[in-house]
């Protein structure tokens, strides 16, 4: 208990940091993931190729390596002077986007082909078909895997702590450094992560309830 009370401001900063990087990377991952999923099911070969390459590359690169590239290599070539927080969010967002893409793509696969064909025969364009007919129906199937992906993202954000981003991992190292017993430190860090991940799974439960699609 002491460790938390003695260093609550640092703990709060770490917690806020974890929430912030999780939120921003989630948005990046969601937007990119949906766009790339659209690419992968599109009738345009170059786009399909791009989507496949994107997923293959990002999904198979260890996250730490991706952070290294974003932190040490990207600023050298483009945008020098970008904040570590932004670089970290991008690394985490890009990485997770590949998982989101695959989840969305499998969701699209669950929508009966007849739906898309019917939409096309009504004269809807590809993007209209996706936006108005397929994605709304795919969403419900996608929610449970997405919730797991975002919970994983929260925990993955700990890696950003080793790349100049203030978050819970940094608080843990700071406290260990000062000689507090290790068990309570980890206990509080775990509790903080639980708060975030429970919030995420709660949010998804609400979404699932509200998005019931009649089938």
């Amino acid at each position: 208990m002491n460790v938390l009370l003695d260093h609550f401001p640092e703990f709060r900063d770490g917690f806020i940091g974890t929430v912030e990087i999780t939120a921003i990377s989630s948005v990046i991952a969601l937007v990119l993931g949906i766009v790339v999923a659209g690419f992968r099911v599109s009738p345009v070969p170059p786009l399909r190729f791009f989507g496949t390459a994107w997923v293959t590359l990002l999904r198979n690169t260890p996250l730490t390596l991706l952070f290294l590239i974003f932190f040490f290599v990207v600023p050298e070539i483009l945008f020098p002077g970008m904040s570590p927080f932004l670089l970290g969010s991008l690394a985490l967002g890009f990485y997770t986007s590949s998982f989101v893409c695959e989840a969305v793509r499998s969701g699209i696969g669950t929508v009966p082909l007849g739906q898309a064909e019917a939409a096309r025969s009504l004269g809807l364009t590809f993007s209209q078909t996706l936006r108005l007919i397929v994605l709304p129906q795919a969403t419900r199937t996608v929610l449970p895997p997405l919730s797991s992906i975002f919970i994983a993202l929260t925990k993955n954000s700990a890696i950003a702590g080793a790349f100049s981003v203030t978050e819970l991992f940094g608080w843990q190292t700071l406290m260990s450094e000062q000689g507090y017993a290790i068990a309570p430190i980890f206990l509080w860090v775990a509790v903080a992560y639980l708060v975030v991940t429970f919030a995420i799974s709660g949010l998804f439960r609400v979404l699932e309830r509200n998005m019931e699609v009649a089938r």
Partner: protein
Amino acid sequence: MKLRKTAAVAVAVLALTATACGGKEGSAGDKPATKPGDAAAPQLPTYTVASGVDLDSPTFKKAKERGKLIIGSKADQPYLGFEDQATKKRSGFDVEIAKMIAAELGFSEDKIEWKTVDSKLRETAISTGQVDYYVGTYTINDKRKEQVGFAGPYYLAGADLLVRKDETGITGPESVKGKKVCSITGSTPLQEIKKPEYGAQTIELGKYSDCVQQLLTKQVDAVTTDDAILKGYAAANSGKLKVTGKPFTKEPYGIGMNKDDKALRGKVSDILDKFEKDGTYKKIYEATLGLSGSAYTEPPALERY
């Protein structure tokens, strides 16, 4: 055409950074150029193994029965506590201090089992008896005294700054305003240098060697942590880096051991005392951290409790 040029430049830069990361040139994980014990370097002392040592200490008795002494140490601090990944040989100032104590307790070098212990697990490893004692940049403080016993201090370190050899702008903590300073995530000196009176911009990474790499490639202006660790890196990258020599915190290093083992604590303090007086301690320093170009300082007074 212009686009193609940019792409070519980008590729070239990429290739450069890639080689810089994997290159030999002064990467902090490299083997030091003059290893302690080279003919060019000041020679390390040899330790005579004491015989017939008897001590009323549970830790010591257990080690005697085992026929082996288990010493906790660091493995990634050149010239301080370093393990050569190829030969598995350990070297450095802390390692020598540990060997010196072991010899005096009656254990020769081949009777020592080294255990690398991560910083955050030190208290746990000591209090659960996984190591008999621990030597590795271990600052004595009251918080830790609740969990472990300390013999020493055997070295007075302090947070300092490591800069490039040609650096003239940074001479000490008072001149880092707005400069980029790197250290390990959550380290104490970093919290210190962030404070408004110093006002440094901080970069926090996972390993000191990453920070040193960043310093060599001019992405940061200084690295901060205990001067002992910095001296080791300065020695390992001889001629490229220097320590400013203006410590801004006090970090007395002690030898961590079981909290209730008073007999061992007293004995280790006696050993430190003896070797500090007879010059062995100084020899160890000269052959390890002294290679960084930082002058020898007298060890702090021992605290017995």
